[in-house]
């Protein structure tokens, strides 16, 4: 289940990676901004896609906590079990 969510998230992230960052560079520990070079506008796009894909809604505080791929997975977990 967890792995499945990670794969879905990876597919979303892939659409917003800069051209010079390969999907192979993405790990659960990756920091969206400092490691994957995703800008703040694209990070919003990722969140909106996550909302659609998992049918959840994130708040501003969630966004502030979402620094790494793992953080995103934890938020998705939390929202789905709420």
């Amino acid at each position: 289940m967890k792995e499945e969510r990670y794969q879905i998230l990876k597919t979303i992230i892939k659409n917003y990676l800069p051209e010079d960052v390969s999907i192979d560079a993405v790990s659960q520990e990756s920091n969206f901004v400092s490691e994957l070079n995703i800008n703040s506008a694209n990070l919003v796009d990722i969140v909106l896609d996550v909302e659609d894909e998992f049918d959840i809604r994130l708040e501003n505080e969630d966004m502030e906590e979402m620094l790494t791929v793992n953080d995103a997975l934890a938020i998705i977990d939390k929202k789905l079990s709420a």
Binding site: S40, V44, D45, N60
Partner: protein, 148 residues
């Protein structure tokens, strides 16, 4: 109603302010106007002996009215203490249909697609004074209230 309290918050000035009026604004969108003054310097070079308003400035006009004015309005709705707007355009996709000549007045209408987590995305249209569609597209930017 005039919307001077929004225009006065715009972080632009001559020669790069492309908003004269706001006709209507609410949480879903905005309509505003601008007249491209015939004596603007860029007409000397775009194009040589054939002055036409550059597409980048039509885009800029759409962004200042459609994104920034609307963004300021939305931020003001959210919070009372408004300091200064910080803005960065993050993407633009525009189509240009007819030229805008010196002295023409254009009208920009913008409809909000979403405003979430500081990102405002809008679909914009610009019409000339004859009501002909000049350009249209989608613009997004990051907008926030800059404290201090």
């Amino acid at each position: 109603m005039n919307y001077k309290h929004i225009i006065s918050q715009l972080p632009y000035n001559k020669p790069f302010l492309f908003v004269d009026t706001i006709e209507q604004i609410d949480t879903n969108g905005v309509t505003g106007g601008y007249t491209f003054a015939a004596d603007a310097d860029f007409y000397n070079g775009h194009f040589t002996n054939n002055p036409i308003t550059p597409g980048v400035l039509l885009t800029e006009c759409c962004a200042q009215i459609g994104l920034v004015c609307l963004g300021i309005y939305l931020l003001q709705q959210e919070k009372e203490e408004f300091a200064q707007v910080a803005i960065g355009m993050s993407s633009s996709e525009m189509e240009f249909l007819v030229p805008v000549l010196p002295n023409e007045t254009v009208r920009v209408t913008s409809q909000k697609t979403y405003f979430r987590f500081g990102k405002l995305k809008c679909s914009v249209k610009m019409h000339n004074s004859r009501g002909v569609l000049v350009c249209k597209g989608t613009l997004s930017g990051m907008i926030k209230n800059q404290h201090g």
